[in-house]
């Protein structure tokens, strides 16, 4: 876990924090042929940010975060394909609220438990959502997925074009909003209580912090953000399939976040970029090796590089500075 980000740290923007946004805008102009992959990466960055908030800062281990992502994706999909509500802003809002409510409901229940029971409950809730989506074929299309998703132009002005330009900028704007919100949260007293609960929940109880309610609130916020990320996925793909729910997407998201670095905010940026680009190049040609690769990488990160890629970079920078001094 990182010690650099938190309430006690300097909350002003460092120069490195501009880099993701410069890179995000540069990609739009320099690599126009990769914009659809870019939109996908941005969607997963938002999703990973939401996981980092509860896992990295509040220390809640979940194997079922995809439940909220998938729920948001289906809410937007069903609105667009079955109910004729095509405005993207309304869809995002509805997905966020719906996923947030699901988060509040399930969070109020699972956060009363600990350890294996909690882990099991997150998994069971995700499995339950998958089962419902699989069986309610009238609404979700079941295993065939939900196609015929129609998305109106954003604010009535910007149409989702064939080259993915609008989709990319739309995702970039929403990742920016999500990042801003989460960064504000982390540097607030609220964020400080979360870190405190992660480090020592007994002591937080002892000093009178409302541990349970803080966790429920952060779980709800995280679920809502994950729901918005799911809505983005539906809007940019104009399709929803069962693969947005269940254990595998939750596991893959964990892999992305761990790869980037947990509890460092920008790990949620680095992880999806590396993971999804590697997946795009490798997974189709060598699916077996790809799966083996992510497994091996997880094992190596856990055993040797607990801070992920950003942890390694931090270590190198520290060593470089030590040499200079």
């Amino acid at each position: 876990m990182s010690q650099h980000v938190g309430y006690s740290a300097d909350h002003r923007l460092r120069w490195t924090e501009y880099l993701p946004w410069i890179a995000g805008i540069a990609v739009f102009f320099v690599l126009p042929e990769y914009l659809s992959l870019g939109a996908r990466v941005l969607t997963y960055i938002l999703f990973a940010l939401s996981l980092d908030l509860i896992l990295g800062y509040a220390g809640i281990i979940t194997l079922g975060h995809a439940a909220f992502f998938g729920f948001g994706a289906y809410v937007t999909g069903i609105m667009a394909a079955k109910m004729g509500i095509t405005d993207p802003l309304i869809q995002l809002f509805a997905s966020g609220v719906a996923a947030g409510l699901l988060g509040l409901l399930t969070g109020a229940v699972i956060l009363r438990t600990h350890g294996l029971t909690q882990l099991m409950l997150t998994l069971a809730i995700a499995a339950l959502c998958l089962e419902i989506a699989n069986k309610a074929t009238d609404l979700t299309g079941g295993a065939d997925g939900l196609s015929g998703v129609v998305i109106a132009p954003i604010l009535g002005q910007f149409k989702f074009d064939l080259y993915g330009k609008t989709a990319y900028l739309w995702c970039l704007a929403l990742v920016f909003c999500g990042w801003w919100l989460i960064r504000r949260l982390i540097y607030s007293p609220f964020g400080a209580t979360l870190t405190g609960i992660r480090e020592n929940s007994m002591r937080m109880h002892a000093i009178g912090a409302p541990v349970y309610w803080r966790l429920v609130v952060v779980y709800t916020i995280s679920a809502a953000i994950a729901g918005v990320a799911g809505a983005l996925l539906t809007q940019t793909n104009q399709f929803v399939g069962l693969n947005v729910l269940g254990f595998e997407p939750s596991g893959e998201l964990l892999v992305m976040l761990i790869l980037g670095g947990v509890g460092r905010l920008y790990g949620a940026f680095v992880g999806p970029v590396v993971f999804l680009i590697a997946q795009d190049f490798l997974a189709k040609q060598f699916p077996e090796y790809w799966y083996f690769g992510i497994g091996l990488m997880l094992v190596i990160v856990v055993l040797f590089a607990r801070g992920g890629i950003l942890g390694i970079i931090d270590g190198l920078v520290a060593r470089f500075k030590a040499k200079k001094a």
């Binding site: 896992l55 281990i61 194997l63 229940v109 009363r112 438990t113 600990h114 350890g115 294996l116 029971t117 882990l119 099991m120 409950l121 998994l123 069971a124 809730i125 499995a127 339950l128 089962e131 419902i132 699989n134 069986k135 254990f247 595998e248 596991g251 964990l254 892999v255 761990i258 947990v262 699916p287 077996e288 090796y289 790809w290 799966y291 083996f292 992510i294 497994g295 091996l296 990488m297 997880l298 094992v299 990160v301 856990v302 055993l303 607990r306």
Partner: protein, 290 residues
């Protein structure tokens, strides 16, 4: 009425067979998690490995009993190597690290299984004496399932005798209850754990092999079945033998009944029941309250 009765008998019979398989696979997980507090999500990998060993030895005309024994022994031996080389580095580590590490193992094993066996489900070629029907009280039961229930019952009886009546079992129970105390009276808990881990993994391998005909052996096995194994352990309660047994039978029968009478709901009831039960008793049916 008679039709209903016979479907009731059939559901109970197949449910018990499935529950036995679930128990044989999951009991090792319950003990290792209770003993070392290690969250081993990769337990299903051992079951899958056992299944593949059985299926491929049967395809190569190895006799069935030898194939079963091999699935136990090879998996147990391999698990000791894994435990000494990898798992032991993470004893006492944070739960998140154990979770991530074992998810990593799942991904790797899925890839290896796909590379060797392809993505298709493996057919089980049973010997002739286990095919066909077995009639009892005027009803016909599939002979293999009868064998499965009898064999598992015998094994479970053996396991219970081992844990409740032998010195090894007493040491395991002592270590589950209070590890520092067990260590201080001279029990070598490290070696004890290696042995227990091997037996538990071997049983998972055996369970996977026995159940290959019920639970399809395919590369996604460790992912798809994980929920069921974890439900058995968490509903039953960590570190106990009796709890997971009751839980496994309950799940086996409920799951079979739901698939028989209300297939449109799938596994819906199992998940709802699990969530409800864990809220009622967070430590499981027979778990120690902490």
């Amino acid at each position: 009425m008679d039709a209903f009765l016979s479907s009731l008998v059939s559901v109970a019979f197949h449910g018990v067979a499935y529950g036995m398989i679930l128990y044989v696979i999951s009991v090792g997980l319950s003990v290792t998690m209770g003993l070392m507090g290690f969250t081993n999500l990769a337990h299903g990998v051992f079951a899958m490995a056992g299944g593949y060993i059985l299926v491929s030895s049967l395809a190569n005309a190895v006799p069935f009993p030898i194939a079963l024994a091999m699935s136990f022994l090879i998996v147990a031996a391999a698990s000791v190597v894994l435990e000494r080389l990898l798992y032991s580095r993470l004893y006492g580590a944070a739960e998140l690290e154990q979770v991530l590490f074992t998810i990593g193992l799942i991904f790797m094993s899925v890839a290896v299984a796909r590379l060797i066996f392809g993505t298709l489900q493996q057919p089980v070629i049973l010997p002739d004496y286990l095919k066909g029907q077995f009639s009892l009280l005027g009803r016909d039961f599939p002979a293999y399932r009868v064998f499965l229930i009898l064999f598992s019952s015998a094994m479970i009886a053996g396991l219970w005798f081992g844990v409740e009546r032998t010195i090894w079992g007493a040491m395991v129970r002592a270590a589950v209850d209070n590890r520092p105390m067990a260590q201080s009276v001279g029990i070598n808990t490290k070696r004890l754990f290696s042995i227990t881990f091997a037996v538990g993994s071997g049983l998972a391998g055996l369970g996977g092999a026995l159940g290959a005909e019920i639970v399809a052996i395919q590369p996604t096995y460790p992912f798809e079945q994980l929920v069921y194994f974890l439900i058995v352990v968490s509903v039953g309660g960590l570190g106990s033998l009796r709890g997971p047994f009751v839980a496994a039978l309950l799940i086996g029968i409920t799951d079979t009944a739901c698939k028989y009478w209300v297939p449109q709901f799938g596994a819906f009831f199992i998940y709802v029941a699990t969530i409800g039960l864990l809220l009622w008793r967070p430590a499981g049916l027979f778990g120690k309250r902490t």
